[in-house]
Amino acid sequence: MSVLPLDAADEVATEPVPPARRRGLPAFLRRPGGIFGATWLTFVIVASLTAPLWRPYEPAEQDTANALALPSAEHWLGTDPLGRDLLSRIFTAGSLPLLSSALMLVVAFGIGLPLALIAAERGRRVEQVISRLTEVLIALPATILLLAVIGVIGNRLYPVMAILGVMISASVYRVLLGVAQSVRQRLYIDAARVNGLGSLRVNLVHVLPSMATVVAVQAAQLFGIGLLIVAGLAFLGFGPGEPEPSWGFMIQDASGYIYTAPWLMVPTGLVLALTVVAANELADAIAGKVAVAGRAGRRRRRGPLRRAVAAAAAGTAEAPDPAAVLQVRDLSVSVDDGPDLVTGVSFALQPGRVLGLVGESGCGKTMTARSLLGLLPDGVSVSGGSILWRGRELVGLSEREMSALRGREIAMISQEPMVALDPMFSISSQLTGPIRRFRGVGRSEARKIAAELLRNVGIVDAERVLKSHPHQLSGGMAQRVCIALALTGEPDLLVADEPTTALDVTVQAEILSLLRALVRDTGLSVVVVSHDLGVVADICDDVAVMYAGQVVESGTAEAVLDAPAHPYTMALLGANPHVPEGEPVPERLASIAGTVPPPGSWPTGCRFASRCRFAQERCTVPFPELPAHGAGSVLCIRVDELSRDHAVWEPEHAGDEIATPLAPPAPVAGVSR
């Protein structure tokens, strides 16, 4: 659940805007490569198959007076050494490679596809037998074997291409097996089987349609390869003999005239090349591969941002808190040219304290945390506000300036320890690299420090771990290594993004007590992102509860957890299965109806109103100023009434499942500020 906000943001950032109206064309025909590929292939196929009907000359018709002519009105593409018309010859020659490649495809898929379906259906033993056989077939030198076939059965293209289809079926099987297996693993296939559909029907109705794209991509690619092979064979003299035209032999013929008539090799070669390019472009377009413009828009516009920052700083009445190491004021994070992900977030962190950012997935916790290091995903950036780190403004710093801070002053540990370490390098080299960079020590000294750091994070056999690679570690061990890595630069602030979410419960407790010990022993300040109130209660001194990109309540952990003032905090606590010792386990946990509204569709007024039990009509209109409450702050217009009435977010009673808040107000995009 904790991974979601990031993914969602990435999706918002990268999802192309769908065309306003779809015209019923398949997707691949809306890409330039796909359009070119489909058009040219159709043209070549139609022109070749109908060549006898339209060709201006008979392919064998000689005009020796006009030999080796350049293009002219009479011969559009020129003539060959015997004065034969190239245009007529090229398209007359086309049907053989096109048809024999098609035959090769039919054979290759006719064998490969059923084998893949059978192997995926019948399980491991059958799959192993078929796979071993195809491995051998793939390892054979196809071209040379094909020549051996020709040596035996003679120069007969269709049977030769059919045999090539048999050889290629092994590669087809390889690719399709993977797809078939993954399709089969989907649950609805099991459901279909349980419903009594026969094996053939399951394959026809469910498995095959899911494989259509891969089959189409493979077919288009192999078709191009087939054309090249047919032409290559004809080039070697294994094609239709003279005077029959063939692409390969026409190019072979042209190679003898490059001194005197270089034009001769152009038309045939170009038609063949364009046809193969067309097949490959079509395959790419079907596969949905487009040249990724990915990192083009990386350079963010700093100019307007600096202004925004200055304006925000000027407009904030709050004076900088001199005691705080980190002060975030009015921070906004947005998708470039898209919706806001975080708006107006403010909090302060005192040295040696632990601040928790809490909330459901999609509330902007991770975005807030990552903006502290300037590590927002591509296409997402800080759009306003200020991050003061030890009196220095971090918003608007260049990548180089931020990079100099990372690791040395602010370090981060992430939620997935198993993928956070580079799988290709040993733990030793991953630790000693930064140690040498940060501390300017030699190789052996760095290794000593690395071992010491590992022991400090509770790893007993540090030497063995140093020699290991990430995949040899357990999740808890990997997270300890990640913490040790974060400590290599002796940072003053540690940003921990869901540090225990991916770990077993017992390991979670160990990692939390390790973090607690580090704070106690080293005076480190920590920002912890978590959806787990248990974690927050365990190690946080201060808490900021986030909902839909805002901090809705903040204060000391004690105050917020013991006496929640915002209905969302109450709801979170009510939904929390951690029961304090000595209290009875409630029969039912409270729940929060509905989901967090995604960025871009936040309602005006209170963003929690549509899910809040205590919401009233006035909650849905924008409120002018935030009511102050105690030492922390609470973003709720009814906070004083609620605390006076001792409102509690009760678990629902049976039959009371459907919460009855107001009808959700129509989301108004972009008016969230």
């Binding site: 040379i144 051996a148 413009a293 993928v419 690299g433």
Partner: protein, 313 residues
């Protein structure tokens, strides 16, 4: 790791045996007999039958097969039906030609492909688009056509390199290198295109990995993230595709050797196919299969050395 190597070795031996079985069956399935090939057209059926008997063609297939394997293990591939030359000796002369073309083409594809692929992944935008389109075209071009274009350009127009022919390394090393240059370039066009695509995809995938974020969070310099960490991550698919390219280019040299009149294996297989010289055909298939199998084995070991997950398994 040992079990892995043993399994790969078994597969390798199996593949070579399969190649022999397949070509044996192929040869015997056809309606041409070696006697007819040796005696040429116009020979009487009696003489052909006698010749086949003398060649051992009528013995049980299995005996012929075991005999062949026995001879093969002693390095004997028989003699040509056409001119009686020793096939093993002939192929030993030819193998270095084909192998060096394929090897140099693979190396060149690797260097160019990795540079372009990394540039596409790192620079993005227009650069990536141009490189993707260019490689898409390059891998679709028929090699023999590219070869002719290169001869026209480098040899006829610019006069830098000889158009065709082969010079022995022992007689003239420089001449040897220049005689291989255009064939190698020709093969490398398609090879580099494929390596480019693999390297670009591999680098893109590598840079999107979670651990790259950890590296950035540690303030690791950009060049180090790209050219030490991401490149290392992408090295496994790139090395695999280079191995496959060597095999593909080795096979593709049939056409190139024909175009450039190079005395390699490909040329031998073409000649053998034209003349139905069965022992020569089987010999070429066996040698080519052995090369492929050894390449695959080396590739497996190399990948295992590169990928800690395989190495420490």
């Amino acid at each position: 790791m040992l079990a892995y190597i043993a399994r790969r070795l078994a597969l390798a031996v199996g593949t070579v045996l399969a190649a022999i079985v397949i070509t044996f069956l192929l040869v015997h399935a056809g309606n041409t007999t070696p006697g007819a090939v040796r005696l040429g057209p116009g020979a009487t059926a009696d003489r052909i039958a006698a010749e086949n008997e003398a060649l051992g063609w009528n013995r049980p297939l299995f005996t012929q097969f075991t005999d062949y394997v026995g001879q093969l293990l002693q390095g004997n591939l028989g003699t040509s039906l056409i001119d009686g030359r020793d096939i093993a000796a002939d192929l030993t002369d030819r193998l270095p030609v084909t192998a060096s073309i394929a090897l140099f083409a693979t190396l060149l594809s690797g260097v160019v492909g990795i540079l372009l692929g990394v540039a596409a992944a790192v620079r993005g935008g227009r650069t990536a688009q141009g490189i993707t389109t260019g490689s898409g075209v390059a891998l679709s071009l028929p090699s023999f056509w590219v070869g002719i274009l290169l001869v026209y350009l480098l040899s006829l127009q610019l006069g830098w390199l000889p158009a065709t022919g082969y010079t022995e390394f022992s007689t003239d090393p420089v001449g040897w290198a220049t005689s291989l240059a255009i064939p190698v370039l020709t093969l490398a066009v398609g090879g580099a295109a494929i390596v480019t695509r693999t390297a670009a995809a591999g680098m893109r995938e590598a840079l999107a990995q979670e651990h790259v974020r950890t590296l950035r969070a540690m303030g690791t310099p950009q060049w180090r993230i790209r050219y030490v960490h991401a490149l290392r991550y992408a090295s496994v698919p790139v090395v695999s595709v280079l191995g496959i390219q060597f095999i593909v280019l080795f096979g593709g040299s049939v056409i190139i050797e024909n175009l450039f009149a190079l005395p390699g294996l490909g040329q031998a297989s073409q000649v053998a196919a034209v003349s139905s010289d069965f022992p020569a055909l089987i010999g070429v298939v066996v040698v080519a299969t052995v090369v492929v199998v050894i390449t695959n084995l080396l590739l497996d070991l190399l990948v295992a050395a590169l990928d800690p997950k395989v190495r420490t398994a």
